[in-house]
């Protein structure tokens, strides 16, 4: 089981991304900087699954802090399929039937992308409905724990277990349960096909989305092309916020209290600098530099603050569309296959790909990858996503 970085229980049924803590088991978030770090507590989502009888099989591999596309720059190396194409570790474990489901952190779309490429389902729930307690933090304002599983039904089952108010998370919404649908009510639904995102994808991905839309129509769903002019601005805004928040959150890894410490230092400054230089990869460093710059005195107003304003505008634009549509359909990534590439290109590549995934992270709305594509829905309307996916899976869309 090469997709596991840590195996916990041979009879376990759930894979937990290495960005989510399981008490007592090394949690490295794909990074050298957290080498040997064993958390003192489990994430709330892990506690809830274990409490409901789902044993954790192991920690699935992720890229450093989950920042890359598909784990290609994980400290332990990428996860590749037989052809040498990049795969998300958790999505592959689910696709191969090794686990019933997986918990993943959707920070910049990685688990959605992975699910779309491996032909499984991943749902990023509405921000605040699932506790982030125990997640190795990067961009707290938009990251969410979600569920990967083979079918919409299995996603729903696990989501019901992990969702609900958690007093340990100050952004947790008050409700204890949410509506995750019943797999019915699909005929008559209205779906918007997002032009800007579809146009930006490769031809084979475009064809995949068009075919999916066609099959939706076959189920009695109305599919219409819609425009989301702020899609690009949303990507920029989310990447700015993500860099800024991540820069701040990873600054605690300094080699002093836990994790990797450089053997080579003469004073406290060198201890910090050398531990971080050796412990973090080039992509994380780029994120830190961009983030630090966006928060600096000279840039705060023109970068960070503006990103917050764009977040508001995008939210209004998306909300406007959800007055007329139950869901928005688009690609989850630009292509149908990815190969390993040089880390020097990582920041640019991740930025470009996040065009397809940024809106739900930026605005907090739910998003689901299924059938190789993805859909967004309005806040707390996971039911629409799950119902559509379930109907499509029943119609032989996979």
């Amino acid at each position: 089981m090469g997709q596991f970085v840590t195996e916990i229980n041979a009879n376990g049924v759930i894979a937990v991304d290495d960005t989510i803590q399981v008490k007592g088991y090394e949690t490295r978030a794909g990074s050298r900087i957290l080498e040997g770090f064993k958390p003192l507590f489990s994430a709330e989502t892990v506690e809830r699954l274990e409490g409901a009888g789902y044993a954790v099989a192991g920690k699935s591999a992720v890229g450093e802090f989950g920042l890359d596309l598909l784990g290609e720059f994980a400290h332990g190396g990428p996860c590749l399929d037989a052809s040498g194409a990049l795969r998300g570790a958790a999505a592959e474990l689910v696709a191969a039937g090794q686990v019933r489901g997986a918990l993943n952190v959707d920070l910049n779309g990685a688990p959605r992308r992975a699910a779309a490429l491996s032909g499984v389902d991943f749902l990023k729930p509405t921000y605040g409905t699932v506790s982030r307690y125990g997640v190795i933090p990067c961009a707290c304002s938009g990251e969410q724990v979600g569920v990967t599983a083979k079918t919409a039904g299995a996603v729903r089952e696990l989501l019901r277990v992990i969702a609900g108010h958690d007093p340990k998370d100050g952004t947790s919404l008050p409700a204890e349960t949410y509506d995750y649908g019943n797999g019915k009510d699909v005929p008559g639904m209205r779906v918007g096909l997002v032009r800007e995102l579809t146009d930006a994808a490769s031809d084979d991905m475009k064809a995949r989305v068009t075919a999916y839309a066609e099959r939706m129509r076959g189920l009695g769903v109305t599919v219409e092309e819609v425009s989301l002019p702020l899609a690009e601005a949303a990507r920029t805004a989310w990447n700015l916020l993500l860099c800024a928040e991540t820069c701040n959150n990873v600054s605690r890894y300094d080699g002093v209290k836990f994790g990797y410490r450089s053997p080579d230092y003469r004073n406290i400054d060198e201890l910090y600098v050398n531990s971080r230089t050796e412990g973090l990869n080039f992509l994380t460093k780029a994120v830190i530099l961009y983030g630090s710059d966006a928060l600096s005195k000279g840039r705060y107003v023109t970068c960070y603050d503006k990103a917050l304003r764009v977040r508001r505008l995008v939210w209004e634009q998306v909300k406007g569309l959800f007055k007329d549509f139950d869901a928005l359909l688009c690609p989850a990534c630009s292509r149908t296959e990815y190969r390993p590439y040089a880390i020097a290109d990582a920041f640019k590549t991740v930025f470009e790909e996040s065009l397809f995934t940024a809106i739900p992270n930026l605005t907090g709305v739910p998003a689901m990858a299924s059938g190789g594509v993805q859909c967004f829905a309005d806040t707390l309307r996971e039911s629409s996503l799950l119902n559509l996916a379930e109907a499509m899976e029943g119609s032989g869309a996979k």
């Binding site: 957290l34 003192l40 707290c140 007093p167 340990k168 100050g170 701040n248 605690r252 300094d254 005195k297």
Partner: protein
Amino acid sequence: MRYEAVIGLETHVELATNSKIFCSCGGHSTKGEPNTRVCPACAGMPGMLPVTNRRVVELAMRAGILLHCDISRYTTFDKKSYYYPDLPCAYQITQWFHPVCRNGSVEVTTKDGTRTIGIKQIHMEEDAGKLVHDDWTETTLVDFNRTSVPLIEIVSKPDFRTADEVMAYLEKLKTMFRFANISECEEGAMRCDVNISIRPEGTEELGVRTEIKNMSSLSSIRRAIQYETARHLDAVERGTETLVQETRRWDDVKGRTFSMRNKETAADYRYFPDPNLMPILIGEDWIRRVRDTMPASIEEKTAEYQSKGLSEKEIASLTSERALCDLFDAVTAAGRDPKEAASWILTECGGILRKHGQVMGELRVAPEKLSRIMEKVSGNEINRAAGRKVLEAVLYEDADPDAYCKAHNLSAQGDADAVRQVVLKVLDATPNAVKDYLGGKKKAFQALFGGCMKELKGNGDPQVIRTLLEEELSKRS
């Protein structure tokens, strides 16, 4: 030309809460063995999320109400980033964009009169840990007990002109905050940054400003202000040096300030709103609730005690400590006479504490026990001297008044027997005085009485001594 100093203060006050500002551990966490008042959250372990302690917001509002501030209807927490080993997350959660209170004022009185000092804002924040330097091993250790202890920072306008005004202000804040249970204001729980510049009297433009960081003792603050003002004057009037806007450090041993030429002063703190802490919306209802549940102010207590017939001095002593007022209120509520209660608390308890080298602030006594002692004395079950003895046992042995009296045979009767022994001893020892008295010299009685009092070391009940003396003398006539 005459110059005046322009001084502004940033005062950090540790709040009296049962837990830290964003986690449930801690409390009065500067105490205790190093790193025993710490949890994964305040130690900065990844995965923990901050959750605001509601009490902190309420105490900050309470301070704002006392300092006549506007309470913000919308207030947020922000992150301030810098690297320092005592800061486990490499950021401090504070309030940068929307502080909880703004635009207040406070009156300070010095020998030169009363002036109003403006308050720019009050904001909430978490404290950092402590570094302990071990010179012997040349190592530095970190103690996280103080990490995330709640603070409020009160930022004054640059309205002070003298060190006396600063002292009066800090003393006033201390008394006010202790009295309102906002802070215990114990040693080190109040820390100040002082901004100073000078300008010709009567002008508006501010001179070059320097800031002296992180002082906690009042005498250091006074000396630092005096030193720094003189340094500015020398520079401006005599050209001894060129002043630059900078942060300085007060060295209490050398008695002067030093420039802090380090990176810290040039840091860009990269403030941004903490996405883990939702903005706090403060409605009228909440403000009213905080106002209504505020402990009575010193002024209100003073008026109340005046109406109960206490003297100015008694009132001043009682209102110096919230705990003394609470004790007094509880004892009088139990039916004891107010004048008597004040006397027992201030004179009797105070005397016993002094004898043990303690001060009034250290008084810890259950009001029921003090009340019971007073009841026994006023009901003539025991005399006042015996009551004092019981009180001492209550204070230092946690004795029960009734049980103690019984165990030590303290009663009016047992007492009278002891006094009678003394009277007999005095009469036997001074036959001449007895003869004089019986021969009609009534003045001799005073000498006999004085002898008994001396023998009883001043602890006798005069009425009892008088009665027994007369009784025994009549037997000898």
